[in-house]
Symmetry: C2
Subunit: 351 residues, 2 copies
DNA sequence: CTGAAAGCGCTAACAC
DNA sequence: GTGTTAGCGCTTTCAG
């Protein structure tokens, strides 16, 4: 074969041009849209396009400066309900704004996260959205800031979603929601029902999100003049299994408590099952609350009282503000509100 | 400014070359890996790269024939637990195989699905994985077949995941799991517990997956010489709300049944809540089963008996077989097995 | 070992 | 209106 044509690599604009008996530019023009082309040629070109089943190579267009913009979404695991919700928001808004959407799961591996970001920089994505909490260490800030600069100098943009901000001056967009405030409100509600000893099933001790929620728990107690028993503060991670394990642990240690608030709904789900397995009634014997308001929360039994986080909107906002950035406009920092949604898993203490 | 250099568009290979005092080809070579380059120049180039924070433009590389391969994952809504599981499998395997992963949510819109696929063809993705059931109409087969051909002639590949196959000769890879078999086994198990009237909360009447599960339900009855009351066959969709609504409907119509099997775990979740709201005990008053074995199934109360579908593996397999395709090798059609997982939501009838 | 030149597929001046 | 000529940023012969 002399030249590439109908083979497995798809046809090029030149193939179309040849078949229609015109130049490549003409093809480009009729496909490009608004440009004066005679009806006759236009028809011929269009026919050739159809016959060859031609679509312009998006990568080549990109190099030529007219590519489909793309944005990247980097998270730990798409399987988590709140991550999925955010991903959904991101994806919806991205396609609404005409962007393609790359996803990358890091599985919690920092190195992989770094690699992904570098790859995205190579892809010249319009923005990379980094999702999910981590430890807020100096090392984290420095590393992330370097990434932000790198991305910015390449005309891209870093968005931090539910991640610790980097301090002033970093070219990032950060969108957070109020972990401490939400936890405060929730725990205040629990305390208002008369509970005095409420077990807290927390996340990793150095995880920023976990810390925020824990602070809220503590603050709500103090506001009532209470000083929570340190024994009631358990640490694990944000998974269902962690909740299950921690709850069993608390039960086996015969810790005293009348209510438990879990750092996430997933944790709460695991805890709830552990409670059921132990033959305890919720909220009869012990009250329970979660955090996140994932869709499943209302189908737990009893329906879970929790705090609502607008995850999907978070995702939408992330892309909207990221894409709305001009080189001159100031970096944004949004703090979304949360609110507790009262369902059936908290009861007033009667005794 | 005369030439682009350090500006917001990132530096090019020529900038690096200039700074290192070599030609672009040399830069390309040291970055490219195995090619003889003197240690001295290599060092200079590498330093320039570092100083400029340079990364080669992946799109340009792609045009030049050495791009990062990419694959696309098209689904209805990443928010559904089983979709998320598949997406996770796809993403993991894709990155394991060095591919980038594009996601597209169609929101159930056929036109959007078509548009996405066209876009993916333009992106020259190595494969596009289409996920989730639909109606198996002639129109569907024809349309999809056209897509498959189109993709194939462009050197790409269509993968159907949990979707009706297209008949012989179509250049597609299809990976399914046994809906009918799984439902059969599940319903047989329910029947074996002595239930005679089991309500079926189905999906859309023309949805292939829903039909498969319904067939299994019917077949299991017939195998026992039973002829299920048509009144017991309700149709909705695969959402939690559908389950909730249908269950309330069944209750209000005072349909007679001692067990209910839902077409999906989501449907079961909604149904369960409706049952609880009606003050009924599960499985004391009525038994319940689902389908899919989503992670949450075990945290429902009672823990849901359901049929396990290896979604994550499905995703992994999809990319593995799609990418393992050579132009000559035969098209694959995999049928994955399922199995029922017995938990606590089904009780034997005692009366 | 390294540079010049051609080419990937497409678009965008610049002519006629 | 339409063809020709340059690029876009990178890789890869082809010469030295």
């Amino acid at each position: 074969m002399t030249r590439k044509s109908q083979d497995a690599n798809g046809s090029t604009i030149r193939d179309v041009a040849a078949r229609a008996g015109v130049s490549a530019s003409t093809v480009s023009r009729v496909l490009g849209g608004d440009y004066p082309v005679s009806t006759a040629t236009r028809t011929r070109v269009l026919r050739a396009v159809r016959e060859l089943d031609y679509v312009a190579d998006a990568r080549a267009k990109a190099v030529a400066g007219v590519g489909t913009p793309t944005l990247a979404f980097v998270l730990e695991d798409i399987t988590g309900p709140s991550f999925a919700l955010m991903a959904h928001g991101v994806e919806r808004e991205a396609t609404r704004l005409g962007h393609l959407c790359l996803v990358c799961s890091t599985e919690g591996d920092v190195q992989r996260e770094l690699d992904f970001i570098e790859t995205m920089r190579a892809q010249r994505t319009a923005a990379v959205i980094l999702v999910g909490g981590t430890a807020d260490t100096p090392e984290y800030r420095e590393r992330t800031r370097r990434i932000a600069d790198s991305l910015a100098s390449a005309g891209s943009r870093l968005v931090l979603c539910g991640r610790p901000p980097l301090g002033p001056g970093a070219p990032v967009t950060v969108i957070e929601y109020d972990n401490e405030g939400g936890a405060y409100a929730l725990v205040a509600h629990v305390l208002a029902q008369g509970h005095q000893r409420v077990l807290f099933l927390g996340g990793k001790p150095d995880h920023a999100t976990a810390q925020g929620r824990e602070r809220g728990y503590l603050a709500a107690h103090r506001a009532r003049g209470l000083d929570p028993d340190p024994e009631l503060l358990l640490h694990g991670d944000f998974t269902r299994d962690s909740g299950h394990r921690l709850m069993r642990l608390a039960l086996s240690k015969e810790l005293e408590f009348t209510a438990v608030v879990a750092a996430t709904d997933m944790v709460a789900a695991g805890a709830l099952t552990a409670l059921h397995e132990a033959g305890l009634d919720v909220p009869g014997d012990v009250s329970l609350a979660g955090y996140d308001d994932i869709p499943f929360a209302r189908d737990l039994y009893p329906a879970l009282t929790t705090v609502h986080v607008p995850y999907e909107e978070l995702g939408r906002l992330a892309v909207r503000t990221a894409l709305g950035r001009t080189a001159e406009s100031p970096d944004e920092h949004l703090l979304l509100g949360t609110h507790v949604v009262v369902r059936d898993s908290i009861a007033a203490v009667t005794s």
